[in-house]
Amino acid sequence: MENVESLSTSVNPESVANKKYLKSRDYVTFTMAKFALSAVTGLTQGYLLIFYTAVLGISPVTVGLMFLIAKIFDGLNDPLMGVFIDKTRTRFGKMRPYLFFGSIPFGIITILLFLPINGLTAAGKIIYMYITYFSYGLIGTIVGVPMDGLPAVASPNNDERIKIISISRVVGSIAEESALVLYSVLIIFLEMKFVYMTMGIVIGVLAPIFILMGIFNVKERIPPTKVPPKITDGFKYLVKNKQFLSLILSLLLSFFRNLVSAASIYVVTYIYCNGSLNIFFALPGAVTSLISMLLAPKLRKKFDPKQIYIVCTIMHSLALILVFFVGMSVPWYITALLMAIAMFPVGLINVVPHFMAIDTLDYWEDKTGKRNEGITFAIISLRGKVSSAFKDFVLASLLAFFLFSTPLLSITSHAPPQLTFTQKGIFMIFTIIPALLNLVTIIPLLFFKLSGRRMVDIRARLAKKRQEEQDHLLTVEEKQV
């Protein structure tokens, strides 16, 4: 790795900000690193639960509890990692050393997560699950936090930073579906346990290679200027900013909606008895949701984000209820088509909370003069991890309630038949359960009052205040000249 490039203080700041620092290969290799990380995330989030229950034969309740504990632990890890990074001083930078030393263990743990281990007792399997998953959480944090922070220090040119972040985020979203494509192809030729093992090996071997390529090219050119916010400060802010609190509560409850995508692999495996159909259930929905995401800026101009969120949530729930009543006895492509339509509003539901978060920032700045982006988005990120934890726990608990049968490892490729009650339960987890429970996300938003005339007035006051500050700054500069 090359050393951190330092910038002379006598250099003109304007020319530094406009100069191009990143070459095409920087964009390509960093994007590949991000692709690798997102592919691992997509693999673990999409397939680890079914691997633990349907291949290793661990009871869903045990797995769900492990996920809940692990992800809450993981959510608390990130700020600690942020502190470690901040205190790191090496000639290679703050973040690249962690990526360098963490990439190979990250690949190894990905492979270990999906090994169809044999010969262990029930207790042994549970211990193995805990050790590997917690290790994955820890190593994932060691690699993930610096990876997220690296673009911010890769170039003093703000346009370049925005560009590398945007490209890598889009590619990252696509990468999360790479496991889906791999699964849909491999399941045609291999048994389930070997499919997951192969996916783990392929992604686990490629991930460190891509990550190392990324960090060898992308250098840290500027030190991070902002001190990461403390989580305790975040909770204090939540209590004071009630508008932000109502938004976060709504977002916390949104994990019910994610049951749909999490249950899709169970639907294709145990209702339609064809794992390769997963791509037809997941991909069209991802496309329709992406299309609605693109409509967000235009709709934002005409409607309040709160209105858009509530209407889209109701539309999504109604569409899922329709799928439930059409039933699981219809041909799979009818269900897949209806689900693609049901997922259309989800793109908007995912995007508009960011607009609402910005409204809470404007509201707080208008009220107190302070703007807390760091805390706001740190809390939103923590919320994401906690929601993910609840989603896996609820899914696992529902599978246990609906009597999901786990295999006996002493019988080769044991796949016990799932009862009709279980199949109906899986279909409910895919449709009516998220449809009804998702509506509770609207309740906290009834207390969210930042819309319409009120936000227009807030923005007008802020615009006036910023203009006055700019005018004052110009006057001071003129006097100095």
């Binding site: 492990m66 632990f73 207790a123 917690f134 002493s410 019988i411 016990p416 038949p417 009650f421």
Partner: protein
Amino acid sequence: MNRKIVVAFTLIMLILLVFLNACTVSQEKYESKLDTQGGKYTDNYNKIISTLDNEEVYSYTLEASEATIINFDKKNQLMPSEMEPKEDSLWDRPYYQYEYTKIGKDYKAKIKYFETKKAEGGKPEYSDSQKKNSLYQDEKNIEYSYIAGIFTVKNSDGVIYTGLESEFNIEIEPPFSNIGYGDILRRLCNDINRSATTSITMRKWFSETVAVLVEYYVLEEELVNPYRNSAFATGYSEDLQFKWESIKGTMYQTYSYTSKKNKLTFFEFHKELYSSNKKESFVVWSNQNETKWQGNLTSKSSYTVNIKYPTSKSPIVFD
């Protein structure tokens, strides 16, 4: 210093949680709990079946399917993939549907039977190269009824026969069973063996109760032995293991029934046979073949029974 204490405390709590989750109950407690639950399961089931005994009018639909690997070498215990020359597993998958209606002492039954198409040598035919989709012959159907004291049989050609009571065994074995609920449902209930049970669960789902029972048997030379009584099965619950080299196979059975307001509305039964077989694999470090014994699925059958009772909006009539 505080941070180190917090980290140490968190790690200790995590380790404790792992071990708490990994702890399993002893075999004695596990089997004792199953015996108690088994009693509740069969008592409840017998109560529901007795209610059905007193019903004058009901109908049910039975869907049954079977699947068997016909080219499994039972004598040498070899899967088709281990034979010389290697073969694909040939699954034979017939299925049938049975509709039964009872109104007082009269009843009517319709059976539709779907047999697989066979090529030369009795090999099933498939529509795909992976042999996942079987080809079927034209459906065979038969109807018989006992109405106003007259027993009639109507075969696929539409010809109606009477006076066949003595020749047409009403209680014949599957696939042409007259299951006036008593046959399969009672027989299966009576066949439940506590020594074979590995799990029993009962669930309340709104106004319904769902009960599930799982059994394992060991197929020894001349005996089908519940796993608890077999010398070739060790462990319990998820740790149940079998000595494959000493047995013919294991049988997995699961029964599930659903009741609503103490009336049986749904019954489900699955049986799977995992045959013991040997597999040769080359071991690199010893430079020789090693024989490994394992259990693979070689046949399975499933029955689901949906029972309907008359309501004011949906009376039950003979069609």
